[in-house]
């Protein structure tokens, strides 16, 4: 790589400009750096403990809010400032080697603390009791595998995984292709409307769709949109989210997620479709291909990479789908999914052992995805 050699060369040049500086440490900078970092951490810790235990010191909520934002953001900035001062104070040979790590380690520290360490600790806890204080061997796994609710959740999760990503991609492609044929304003407006749910929380979306699925007793006016349409065609009003036949209730919950995610798929696919070279389409047209043939044989192969990316992204999201089920049925009427089962074991039942065992099952399910991510990254780097 040419970039590497030029880095070495220029670093050598910079050093030869000022030879003394590269040797000496700067104790003042080191000291200020360390003291600064310690003071910041100490001050922030006390500030936030004060927020928690003595909110009356600050008057009202708004004051706490503003102080918290300034403290949090400013504190992080100052922490970096002092860290850099500390590194710059080190003798140059040490500091040259240390700078990259000073840049990446604070970020990696968070990743390590919040994701990597907990992954192993969770595996560890899955062999421990309900409050993670003593080992119980495989008892948690025996309990969850013996629980019909667990298998029901796995089955539902598989259904979600089979249906949602595929439907989202299909809608995404349709919307992206059709909106591309509209006038500029029409395209912008229609895409905005379909994209809008992306900004809405899962909880908000469930509230919105709760109105669509609402039920009133027969004879009363139906205020739910679905029941209003259903009864207009002569049907009896239904409590939609309680219908287990053909997994209808699960499918109606999937509709909420599909509604939320099509905008995301559309955005990615639309930019991919706009990247398809016009002359490939023109050439096919001259060869006498119809619009449908052009779509399947010219456009789709060229956006295949994006389709896979969208599919995998939605797949990962669906694997952990929680909010919609938790808020709407909380797993009743056979709608439970793994992430909701986990939450209820951890939060409502206080069964940390079983909860972590469920997460381990989830972890095993994402291993192929980790492999895919790394492979995908390597391919992209090779093409860069």
């Amino acid at each position: 790589m040419t970039a590497d050699t030029s880095t070495v060369r220029s670093r050598g040049r910079a050093r030869s400009d000022d030879p003394e500086k590269s040797l000496r440490a700067n104790p003042a900078k080191i000291l200020i750096g360390i003291v600064g970092m310690v003071v910041i951490v100490w001050f922030l810790a006390n500030l936030f403990l004060a927020f928690g235990y003595h909110p009356e010191w600050f008057g009202n909520k708004i004051v706490i809010a503003i102080l918290a934002i300034i403290g949090g953001v400013g504190g992080a900035a100052l922490l970096f400032f002092f860290l850099n001062m500390f590194i710059e104070g080190l003798p140059s040979r040490l500091s040259q080697g240390a700078i990259p790590y000073a840049f990446i380690l604070p970020g990696l520290f968070f990743v390590g603390l919040m994701l990597i360490y907990p992954t192993f600790q969770t595996i560890n806890y899955s062999f421990a009791n309900a409050d993670s204080t003593a080992y119980v061997g495989l008892a948690n796994y025996k309990t969850i595998f013996g629980d019909p609710e667990f298998w029901q959740s796995i089955l539902n999760n598989v259904l979600w995984l089979l249906i949602v990503p595929a439907v989202v991609v299909a809608f995404g492609v349709i919307v992206a292709v059709l909106s591309d044929k509209l006038s500029a304003n029409g395209e912008k407006a229609s895409k905005s409307l379909i994209f809008l749910p992306m900004a809405i929380s899962f909880v908000g979306a469930t509230a919105i769709w709760g109105l669509v699925y609402a039920y009133n007793n027969p004879g009363q006016t139906q205020t739910g949109l679905l029941n209003a349409i259903w009864t207009a065609f002569g049907g009896q009003p239904q409590t939609w989210l309680q219908i287990e036949t053909a997994k209808l209730n699960s499918i109606l919950l999937m509709v909420i997620l599909i509604w939320l995610q099509v905008g995301f798929a559309m955005v990615l696919l639309s930019s991919a479709i706009k990247g398809v070279p016009e002359d490939t389409i023109e050439a096919a047209r001259i060869d006498g291909a119809g619009e449908f043939q052009i779509f399947w044989q010219v456009v789709i192969p060229q956006i295949k990479g994006t389709i896979i990316t969208v599919f995998v992204t939605v797949f990962i999201l669906v694997l952990k789908v929680f909010d919609i089920v938790y808020v709407s049925t909380n797993g009743a009427y056979n709608t439970n999914v793994i992430a909701n089962l986990f939450f209820n074991k951890l939060f409502a039942a206080s069964q940390a052992g079983q909860a972590t065992a469920i997460v381990v099952v989830l972890l095993i399910a994402v291993i192929p995805l980790i492999w895919y991510q790394i492979k995908h990254f390597r391919d992209e780097e090779a093409n860069r």
């Binding site: 970039a3 030029s6 880095t7 220029s10 670093r11 910079a14 936030f48 403990l49 927020f51 928690g52 909520k61 918290a68 934002i69 949090g72 953001v73 992080a76 970096f80 700078i99 990259p100 840049f103 990446i104 604070p106 970020g107 990696l108 603390l113 994701l115 990597i116 992954t119 969770t122 806890y125 509209l182 029409g186 229609s190 905005s192 409307l193 379909i194 994209f195 992306m198 900004a199 809405i200 929380s201 909880v203 908000g204 509230a207 919105i208 709760g210 109105l211 669509v212 139906q222 205020t223 949109l225 509604w259 955005v267 990316t309 909010d323 808020v327 992430a339 951890l346 994402v366 991510q373």
Partner: protein, 287 residues
């Protein structure tokens, strides 16, 4: 079938116009239903569908009492403020840390660089559920005792947003011309100066894109807020989830509450839509 041309000379496609209109309508109707219902009185909402109010706007009883009821009575107002306090630092802090890391991954050579970056890519897919029991132990009464406070949630969102943020920013920074960074070095700038004066200003589009997405994720999050915030610090989304559980008395506040929780994300959406699009197209997968 009309073969008329549009202004830009492409043929007008009736099929596309009709299908897209139907789809856009289908996607919008549920939200309109919520908005209309939130302005109706309890009795109206219980006795007729929201569309009747929309078709006869002058005979319907409109009210804003649902909003005042939800804001003060159901305490969504304090949840709203809490959401702001949670979301702003939880957006800014991870970006600050990640930008430094992305700079190092893009412009520096050091041992184990590829290993560290593959680690970041791998943990992007790890479900955040792995963190809950261990972090409840570390942050909770058995550990630091900060669980329930804002700072606990900031730390968690910083950790969970970090891999994706590093990845997105690094992807963007590697499209910047290396020659600029090289020449800054020759001019005697330290990495710290190069970072603040050159790379950060040039990376603003990517930073804004990620910030928009991270803000929405944090604002809309239920799981972390529910587990790691105590009831006086909890966010508007958790308050809304608690409202969703209520039947009968107070049920009319739900629609207004849902809309209160959606106002900020909607404003972000309409003001920063292009940043959102850019963030998503830069290859975002969140774990």
């Amino acid at each position: 079938m009309s073969r008329a041309l549009m202004k830009d000379g492409r043929p007008r496609s009736t099929f596309s116009i009709v299908t897209m209109s139907i789809l856009a309508l289908l996607w919008t109707i549920p939200t309109i239903g919520l908005l209309v219902t939130s302005f109706r009185t309890r009795d109206d909402a219980a006795s007729s569908g929201w569309w009747t109010a929309l078709f006869n706007p002058f005979s319907a009883n409109w009210t804003t009492s649902n909003y005042s009821g939800a804001w003060t009575g159901a305490d969504l107002g304090s949840g709203f403020i809490n959401s702001i306090v949670v979301a702003i630092p939880a957006t800014v802090i991870p970006i600050m840390f990640a930008a430094f890391a992305a700079y190092a991954f893009t412009f520096m050579e050091f041992p184990f660089k590829e290993f560290f970056f593959l680690l970041i890519i791998a943990v992007m897919v790890v479900p955040i559920q792995v963190a809950f029991q261990p972090m409840l132990n570390i942050l909770g009464p058995r550990g630091l005792g900060i669980s329930g406070q804002y700072i606990a949630v900031w730390l968690l969102h910083t950790g969970f947003g970090m891999p994706l943020c590093i990845y997105t920013l690094r992807n963007y920074m590697s499209t910047l011309p290396r020659s600029i960074v090289e020449s800054a070095k020759i001019d005697g700038c330290s990495h710290y100066q190069t970072f603040w004066r050159l790379v950060v200003p040039m990376s603003i589009p990517a930073i804004a894109a990620f910030a928009t997405l991270q803000f929405l994720w944090v604002w809309n999050d239920l799981l972390i807020a529910k587990l790691f915030l105590n009831s006086s610090n909890t966010t508007v989304i958790v308050k809304l989830q608690q409202l969703l559980g209520t039947q009968g008395q107070g049920a009319e506040l739900l629609t207004a509450g849902a809309f209160i929780s959606m106002i900020v994300p909607m404003l972000v959406f309409f003001a920063l839509q292009r940043f959102m699009v850019r963030g998503l197209t830069s290859g975002a997968v969140k774990g």
